[in-house]
């Protein structure tokens, strides 16, 4: 059976899932299995988790491109809220009873979800649909913060994340913390008890603009901190990487209005002496002042949207020549680190959609067979194993996790190269090989052949340590797959 005739991974998973669901008819756990089905073909589901006030809702707004998740000073998000693509609409799902449509009102550029007479505590979840470009790549889930003073809300998130199959991937947000800090440990406690691996989890160092008290070098400091976290073995075993993001800047880059820009322009045009005093503190920025052409209310709005760091940055950027709203928005977006995060999410999550979905489904089936061992259970588990063994994509991500958790003994550089080849930095051919996008097919083929030979040697060498040998076999297979990829096929000879 050639590759062209082999059913796709998704198809095989779907048929196994159907079989499993049928086997468990009438049993309570069937519900778990039945839940997965509709999601298999759906968009990737990514949860945003972290402590209270880590910046989850702000990041969500930045990714979605609209100010919809509430972000007040006090603790906000109380209910797990799903954001999917579609015409603007919101629905509340009470713990008991029918789903209830909720109002979505817009005011001053901000969307608000009206609960009406419903209480947040009575809701199991809220589902929101928005016509957002980003939501075409993935569905986002905003969660109540953990470590909440209203413990119930935090526990719900814990339960939610711990539930297999609820989401396919997680973004863990954390602020700048010491490794002995309880919050630091707790964030990763959540990571380790939920069903995430370094494949489907990414760390975000949030509120990056506040590091160092908001001084101009804050984002540079943030990059240093993120690098430190990346190097920490505990974190390496839990998330793929850690990126710094200034959520507020990113959110505003998406939502800045013309009026806002006009105000910032006016402020930038005012003499240095007047603005210097304003920029000293948040309090001074919003204080009434005759020398400033922008009224305090408008300044307050700017401060709430950008933060003091953002305001200083924006005025600086305008002062350096940005003349249009779009130029400023681009600068803010660039500065915020969101571009890097988007890129990472696309390669790490979106490109792997099928594989991550398959993984969630298989894991759920596996757990269900263990919880409820009916006579058919061993057969189902074997089927899962066969599928896993037969699906090279799954073998790749399993090996990627093992590389991260220190299960394969090799030199760090060798480990990094293996990770790249397995698609750890992007599943595209050029990403796996670390080549420039314009590399010729010939060069690429040569490199692949070389790698293939190398890994075959390692796999066949009797002195190679067993774990490394197994890894080498997977890599060998990867190379074979790459060699057969369409872009490398020699051009079909034209008709004579």
């Amino acid at each position: 059976m050639t590759a062209a005739h082999m059913p796709s991974l998704a198809a095989r998973v779907r048929s196994l899932l159907t079989e499993a669901t049928r086997s468990y008819t009438g049993r309570p756990v069937q519900r778990e299995l039945a839940r997965i089905g509709p999601h298999l073909n759906g968009p990737l589901r990514v949860a945003i988790a972290g402590r209270v006030k880590a910046g989850k809702s702000t990041l969500l707004n930045a990714l979605v491109g609209a100010a919809v998740a509430p972000t007040d000073a006090g603790e906000c998000t109380r209910v797990v809220t799903w954001y999917a693509r579609g015409p603007a609409r919101a629905t509340g799902f009470p713990k008991t009873g029918q789903p209830h449509p909720l109002g979505l009102t817009e005011h001053d550029g901000r969307l608000t979800i009206e609960l009406g007479r419903l209480q947040a505590d009575a809701l199991d979840r809220i589902e929101v649909q928005l016509p957002s470009q980003w939501l075409a790549h993935m569905t986002l889930v905003d969660t109540p913060g953990m470590g909440s003073l209203t413990e119930a809300a935090g526990r719900r998130t814990q339960d939610f994340l711990g539930d297999t199959g609820s989401v396919d991937a997680v973004l863990y947000l954390m602020r700048h913390l010491h490794s002995s800090d309880v919050d630091f440990l707790d964030t990763f406690h959540d990571a380790s008890t939920s069903n995430t691996t370094p494949i489907n989890a990414v760390g975000v160092l949030s509120r990056a603009d506040e590091i160092g008290g908001g001084e101009p070098g804050a984002l540079n400091h943030a990059r240093r901190v993120a690098a430190e976290y990346r190097a920490d073995p505990r974190i390496r075993g839990l998330v793929h990487t850690v990126l710094p993001v200034a959520g507020l800047l990113a959110q505003t880059a998406a939502t800045l209005t013309n009026a806002d820009f006009a105000d910032l322009l006016a402020l930038a045009k005012t003499g240095d002496s007047a603005t210097a005093g304003l920029l000293l503190s948040a309090g001074r920025f919003t204080a009434p002042s005759r020398a400033v052409p922008v009224p305090p209310a408008a300044r307050q709005r700017l401060l709430a949207m950008l933060g003091l760091y953002g305001v200083r940055l924006a005025i600086d950027v305008i002062g350096n020549g940005a003349a249009t709203r779009d130029e400023l928005r681009t600068a803010l977006h660039q500065h915020s680190g969101l571009a890097d995060l988007r890129r990472l999410l696309l390669t790490q999550f979106a490109e792997r959609r099928d594989v991550l979905k398959a993984e969630t489904a298989l894991r759920t089936i596996d757990i269900v067979t263990r919880i409820d061992p009916i006579p058919a259970a061993p057969r189902l588990r074997q089927a899962v194993e066969r599928l896993r063994a037969g699906a090279h994509e799954l073998a790749e991500i399993r090996l990627l996790t093992e590389l991260r958790t220190g299960n394969v003994s090799a030199h760090p550089e060798q480990l990094a190269a293996m990770e790249r080849l397995l698609g750890g930095h992007g599943t595209a051919l050029t990403a796996r090989l670390g080549l420039a996008p314009n590399a010729t097919a010939e060069d690429t083929r040569v490199i692949i052949t070389g790698l293939h030979a190398h890994w075959r040697r390692v796999a066949q060498n009797p002195l190679t340590e067993p774990n490394l040998a197994r890894a080498a076999q997977v890599l060998q297979r990867t190379c074979e797959g790459l060699a057969a990829s369409p872009q490398l096929r020699p051009p079909r000879p034209g008709p004579r």
Binding site: G212, V225, A282
Partner: protein
Amino acid sequence: MTPSPRTDTAAPAPSTTAELLELLDAAAAQCREHGRADLADKLARQRRQLTSRAWHVLVAGEFKKGKSALVNGLVGVPVCGVDPVAFTAVPTFVRHGQAAAATLMPDGEQYQPRPVDIRQAAGHGISGVAGGDPTGALRLRAVEVSLPRRLLAAGLVLVDTPGLGGGFAAAAAAASMRALSLADAVIVVTDASQELTAAEVEFVRNAAKLCPNLLCALTKTDLYPQWRQIRELDRGHLRKAGLDVEVVAVSSTLRELALDTGDHALNAESGFPVLVERLNGRLLAPRDATSLRAAVTAVRRSLQQVAGTLATEHTALTKPAERTETLRRAETTQQRTQHLASPSSRWLNTISDRFADIGSMVDADLAERIRRLETEASGKVRAGDPTQQWAQLVPWLYRRTNEELTDTHTKLLDKINELAAEVAALFEATAGAVDALGGSAEPPRAGELKLNQLGRRGGKLEVGMHAARGWSLSSSVVTTLLVTTLHPGLLIALPVTAALGTVFAIKAVRGYRTTRLDHARNEALRTIAGYLNQARIDAHRASADLIRHSRSRIRDYYLDQAAELVSAARHTQQAAVTAATTATADEQAAATRGAATQAKLDRVSTLLATADRLGAGADGGSGGNTAS
């Protein structure tokens, strides 16, 4: 929920302090006049203590909340390390000094403190090493800084700490609690970026039990526009937790700018004037009240001794019938005071015996608790799957360990307090029987009241407050104990990485292979045993330090008192003999001298009355707040 009492002790009015200084001078003069130079010296020391007794203010709070910047803002010089990325590694002690100076305290008994340029002190606070040492970086225990600042001149010692916070699930919680029990006041620092977390509130609650003299500082108000909202939310959380703690909003950035430019408006906006006022006022008040009571007590005791001598002399001169009796009594008194001061005296032996008992009790208690914990933890590990539960087990274990250690420490403080009260009663009973206190100015009932007043403040060692007993750990001892307690090595973390390495290797393949359960369990048990052992060793060392210092301080204090009484008795006896001889020889001269002695006695009595008045004023101001 019983609210944790804020210290209501009002600071004595400045006029009271002035009067007291006068009183001390007058009393010292009287003592010297009557041949008691030893008492005069003691009163001179009290006079110095009155205005500058060292007072340790711990600046606590989680990492990156702005503690170091706060201390720098208070003293106006960047002596504590402030870095956007790195964390404070070792504590910095900032006290008054005639000239600006800094000293590094290396870790290890064999190393001497080494002076450095004060401009480099901050860097060492962050790095935690001495650096520039040819034999390699020398780890530090602490950094000491002295500055000529008016704020510090009254005896204030500011202690900048590495992150001290989090609830009992934090690794360093037990050490934090020990440090808090030594502090005279605490500033808990939180910032305006978000409201108080559950862990922060728990920390404030625990801190308030150990050191009720506490306030909260809300920092970085320059950066966060909603700081007022945050402050309200924080106040709400504290109120809901039953805590009556003030929240003072500040900005160290604005303060620094204000000090650079001399801008008063900016300084006011920084909120630091309010903080300084609180430091000099409410937080310092208990110290001042304590000093006042201590000074009054010292004056009373000294003058009573002098009065006793004069009274005996007067009796010998003017009452021939009682002469023999007077002489005999003076003789007996002298013998008894000799006994009081001898090494075989009961109170002295009580101290040695009882402290030895306390030491054994603490050891046994610690061992028992740790043993129980280990059993509990092993049970959990054996019952479940450590690979799945490790991440929950670690915080649980920290929390339980810290609870047990803090409990032991609190018990220790209680026991030391009890012992001190017992010794005081024993000593005073003996001294009273000796009649060396003389006069009727000190009714035993008032003495009892003072002992009862000490009450239970959650086991806080009464080192600064309520020194009615007179003794307290000296400031250098407190500093030493704080340095040991805040040792960076005490931020011991359960060696999670090693175990997690195994755990996650297993977790990663959890779904794919059978777990190597036994291996994981053994690893977990080994790790836990190692952690608990280390915890026990640290706790034991901390207790031993505290016991050692308390014992020697109490003993020295009462030895000094006994020596005074010996001197008093001797003087009395001499005076009685001289008076008797004079009187027998010349009745007329005796009568004249008797009148003169009466006059002297009257002068002393007037001073005693003043002391009583000032003392009653202090007691009245603070009365009724210790009932809770």
